[in-house]
Symmetry: C2
Subunit: 588 residues, 2 copies
């Protein structure tokens, strides 16, 4: 009974990490979390508005997506410092998903975004409960890097129209650039001045403000955090200018009415047609969002020797997205920049996220009327400056030097994302990575090996001076044996034997073989029969425990004409005398 | 110049294997080939009619597909004994591909089949020229076995309507059985007698005729070959009965008018819409046909110590299918049963195939009027008896005992082929095999290893009595390091260290690692940094040549806190003294 209760408490703690850290919550922890929350709130207000704009949604949805989802993550998440909310890449994916639906009104857009958040939350929850977090591993680092770089470019160019104050459409880069260029004559000069000025200011804040503040005597960490508040200054100044000089009257696009008040209670549209169209994008958003979030969370956790639980992170992010769909938000995930700020500002527990939510809720209640005159170009500038730091073509050079397969995956992901959009790009990248890996393993390295004189070690005859025996062929199979390479290995051995007449024994060294699947087993059986026809015996050496366990369930070990040796040295020494031969090994 | 000519002759011989065997052709070879051709012709006449019926095409298309394609293969193919022509599984795939188009008339069906043969030939040629034969390796043995078994069942049930003389439709098994059962009351008893009688006769021929003929004093090989001619006897007897007793007048379906004469000159329909719909099925037909053909060809070549060239086989089969499309045929490939008969009957060169073509051409010129009264039920019976030998549920038991992943692939392929049809079945099987292999390698076996006392060998501490050191963790990574498992390995090591405080060195043994891709390299760098934060040094041992070559192009070898050791024993011996520790290893 006591055990049952304990077990139930442990499983409750698995699903509600808040029970773990909440029970030890102290005044000191509260103060740290509170300070971090204030700083993150200041950073998050312009970001959340800007990312809603990027997603093609009303600005207030960015604020709504930064309230309840943060509370949900505080209850279910395992990272102590992750700051959840709207992020650039997920906003871009949301824009692409909803833009493809052919909707007319902003109300329909909003309803679709809410449904997308719901589906994405559901998928994340299901993945968490069934421990499917490993699926994210199929996004290789090169594919992620290529996708992030291409997304950064797509996002930056998507905002160019707001900086110029002109029209431009198209999801793919070239469509968009073409319409942009055809409208460039309509540029609104005040808009351009606000946009370009904000961009210049924000870049200066990134590079120049921190050193300046430090010269003025501020401690480095504080200077760093203040510099992160640069976007708020840009928002305040351009809003004041817009109000004072009636920018709107001069054709400058402004944010306009943002509803004042707490998030409304909303529900996803249970329209099977719409859900069917959104399920693909929702899966992509879930996995990309999860990958981005978990990378940040793990990096920050490692700095404090904490561990996060990937499958519970899925539950946390799932709950956040469900919360977003119930409170007028859109898909959210853990953001990189804001999590680092949260961590640096001293956040100790997920409660900091809940306090940030309170801050944003206060902003939604009190500050929204002040945003009326905010120029759209200012928000576009904060997006452009934020995402250009994501663009990193260096990955092309790094992968080129290391592996052509990785390079191909990066290059294809970048090009296809730019040309055909985010969904096509990332899917092609994943499929190409998998195909290239399978292709590589389908033509494995097979080394002919010989004895290193004076030792019991065997090495590649092409790389080392080693001893061999004319009647004995030693091959080390440098790959798992499975369907994609089963026939390759069979053909390789038979072709090798076609050139070399006196061979009477073939020993396959299996030290690097971790799997022999049924296709490969059947190929080995076939090879054994064919070698038998040719009067050649087939032997194996250094077969691993788990592989041997499996072979023992089959007839192969009875059928094989030769033996299975524990060591390759043992094989070579044994095969000489057995056939009345001296083990007279000759240098190659 | 002389070299250039020689090179040109060699490459001519690569693409025209006929130049190789043709130059040494003798009268003895001719006699052997001729005898084999006569026997295969007798076997092929009823088969080619029956398979055309199975494909849903006019009977004469089966004959046409057995003339020019055989000549084309004789020129371009490399197998000495392969007999090309219409086969059961490809006919089934053709029926499925064309049945999905929603065509009305038999003329449209025929045009689509001709186009399908053309596309399939083109794909095979392209695969041959670009040496893409390895793609066929992604069809694992379990998927092929499952597909063949399910196809056998689908084909047999598709013929049941001809045995009963009723209507039945539907590509999937259950649709078809449902309509069959609803019409079972319409059974034509004479048709049933002909069909069931033929089935019983043909089964008896398979099992009982050969022993009987041998008892009568015939040599075993001749008895075997005569037994293979059973279908011809069934065709002759039932045609005579049908003629004598006016079966057609009693509602029995008969073959009817088969045009007399040589194949017509035909061309594919260059309709992009149609080609777009047929390209998917054409790829499937090409790959499945290639796999079937090459398996037979390799088995037969091995018996005579000959080798075939898979990429040239693609050219040979491609030329055959193009030939089929130019002469009123439909997709063809190398057939199992008839190739074995050809081989057993003594065929020495591909000329036997050309002589068979002459035989079938004579049949098309002279025999077709005799086929008028042939009951369809007789042809259905020959198909049923032929394909039931393909059905082998034993593969389920074999894979269950060996590997659950292989079992899942077989089971899924069988079930999905039966329920959703051949294309869905085989595609799902391939995708599932790949996914299961990737899943397995994404959670690799990692062995903690220790020193076997008195040796320099290291073994799994869970399987052997070995020596370990409390400050040193030795892990053998039993898998390639790549994107799908990069994070798993990182997490595994960190989790392992969370339980064990005194560890100061981690040595990763890489003897079984054949690949480290960029994702895995970045994970190793991350692991190195995190271990460094924890005051633990990371070392590698026994890194293979090709992997080391690649690592040397990166900064990793400069950044790693520990060393790279040639042998694991060297690592363990070196790490004690370096840190002022004795290498005092203790039994686990």
């Amino acid at each position: 009974m006591a055990r049952g209760l304990k077990g139930r408490a442990a499983s409750l703690r698995r699903f509600f990490p808040i029970l773990e850290w909440g029970s030890a919550y102290s005044k000191d922890t509260f103060l740290s979390d509170f300070v971090a929350a204030v700083i993150v709130t200041i950073m998050l207000i312009p970001q959340s508005l800007a990312y809603a704009l990027l997603a093609g949604l009303p600005a207030e949805m960015g604020l709504y997506a930064s309230i309840l989802p943060l509370v949900a993550y505080a209850i279910f998440g395992t990272s102590r410092a992750l700051a959840v909310g709207p992020v650039a890449v997920v906003s871009l994916l949301t824009a692409a998903a909803i833009g493809n639906l052919g909707l007319d009104s902003m109300a329909e857009y909003a309803a679709a975004a809410i449904t997308l958040a719901f589906l994405s939350g559901l998928i994340l929850l299901v993945m968490g409960v069934f421990r499917l977090g490993f699926l994210a591993n199929f996004l290789s680092h090169p594919v992620i890097a290529g996708f992030i770089t291409a997304s950064g470019l797509l996002i930056a160019t998507s905002q160019a129209k707001h900086i110029l104050g002109v029209e431009a459409h198209g999801e793919a880069l070239f469509d968009r650039l073409a319409t942009l260029i055809s409208h460039v004559g309509d540029t609104n000069l005040i808009t351009l001045a606000v946009g370009a000025g904000s961009i210049a200011f924000l870049f200066w804040v990134r590079k120049g403000l921190k050193p300046l503040l430090m010269k003025m005597g501020l401690p480095p960490r504080l200077a760093d955090i203040l510099a992160k508040a640069g976007p708020v200054a840009a928002v305040a100044v351009t809003t004041l200018l817009s109000f004072a000089f009636d920018f709107a009257g001069h054709g400058v696009s402004i944010v306009g009415d943002v509803p004042q008040g707490l998030p409304p209670l909303t529900f996803p549209t249970f329209d099977l047609d719409l859900m069917g169209q959104l399920i693909g994008p929702a899966i992509l958003i879930s996995i990309i969002g999860f990958v981005e979030s978990i990378s940040v969370a793990q990096t920050l956790a490692a700095k404090k020797r904490q561990r996060i639980t990937p499958d519970q992170e899925l539950v946390g992010l799932g709950a956040s997205n469900i919360a977003a769909s119930l409170s007028g938000g859109y898909p959210v995930t853990g953001g990189f920049a804001r999590s680092v700020v949260n961590f640096d500002a001293g956040a100790e527990t997920p409660a900091a996220g809940a306090f940030t939510a309170v801050g944003i809720a206060l902003a939604a209640l009190l500050l929204t009327p002040l945003l009326y005159f905010l120029p759209t170009a200012t928000l576009a500038a904060t997006i452009i400056v934020a995402v250009l730091s994501l663009v990193d073509f260096g990955i092309l050079k790094r992968t080129w030097g290391y592996s052509k397969a990785d390079f191909s995956a990066v290059a294809a992901t970048i090009v296809l994302t730019l040309v055909f959009g985010v969904e096509a790009g990332v899917s092609s990248g994943v499929i190409l990575s998998i195909f290239l890996y399978l292709y590589k393993t389908s033509r494995p390295h097979i080394a002919e090996i010989g004895l290193v004189p004076g030792t019991e070690h065997f090495r590649n005859i092409d790389r080392h001076k080693v001893l061999t025996h004319p009647e004995l062929l030693s091959l080390r199979l440098d790959e798992n044996l499975y369907f994609a390479n089963a026939r390759f290995i069979e053909d390789y051995v038979l072709d090798r034997l076609a050139h070399d007449q006196p061979i009477r024994h073939v020993v396959l060294n299996c030290i690097a073989v971790n799997v022999i699947d049924l296709s490969a087993l059947e190929s080995l059986e076939e090879l054994n029969r064919r070698l038998d026809d040719m009067g050649i015996k087939l032997h194996l050496s250094e077969v691993k425990g788990p592989v041997m366990d499996r072979l023992q369930k089959t007839h192969f070990l009875d059928e094989i004409t030769g033996q299975v040796f524990l060591t390759h040295y043992g094989a070579v020494m044994a095969l000489g005398p057995v056939d009345g031969l001296k083990p007279k090994l000759a240098a190659e």
